[in-house]
Symmetry: C2
Subunit: 119 residues, 2 copies
């Protein structure tokens, strides 16, 4: 069946969450948001493109930082309201310079930093 | 630093997205939503507890299906508006009986089912 981004279920702002996962290591890198056009652009360009809620504009990941996400495969969940994008990540995914945005763990009730910024 | 769920950033409905990942295989299983109390209950009980937006009630994953998610570790992202929960999943995570909710891939413009329901 041909895929049409318009058949996805978006929230009141026209967005859905997209989880970026390293296609090779399986590491979950980040979560950001896409609208239908960002989904279409990601598929057609092969470069993961989000919608920036703070800037209210398209956000081609890595366009300014160089930390590009090359699309390996896009997957849709059962409710069609969330995406999983398997990527080949150049450099760190997080704006803090860490590989993943999920670098804080909760251990024994405390916040513990488990990942340092890359050199 | 002691972790306080109230320091997370929730949306207008008091929710944030939580990604469940198999702690052993790294497979991304599902995405659901938590409010501050669901975060606290997940940490205190060790059983992943979401907020069901459709039922407007707490949803202890597996409470009716038996497909429990045992918390291995909770992680917070850099913006503090998304969680990654590493879990030990009993049975399938998806209500369709599949291991993961992300069983539909987009390949060459078509939707392809890449995972069958478990027996």
């Amino acid at each position: 069946m041909a895929f049409d981004p318009a058949t996805l279920t978006f929230d009141a702002d026209g967005l859905l969450p997209a989880i970026a996962q390293d296609a090779e290591s399986g590491e979950v890198l980040m979560l950001a948001w896409m609208n239908a056009e960002a989904v279409a652009r990601t598929l057609s360009s092969g470069r993961v493109t989000y919608w920036s809620r703070s800037r209210q504009s398209f956000w081609i990941k890595g366009e300014t930082s160089g930390h590009v996400q090359h699309l390996v495969e896009m997957r849709v969940d059962c409710d069609r309201d969330c995406l999983l994008v398997l990527v080949r990540q150049e450099g760190p995914a997080c704006h803090t310079g860490r590989r993943s945005c999920f670098y804080t763990a909760i251990r024994d009730g405390d916040e513990v930093e488990i990942m340092a910024p890359e050199a």
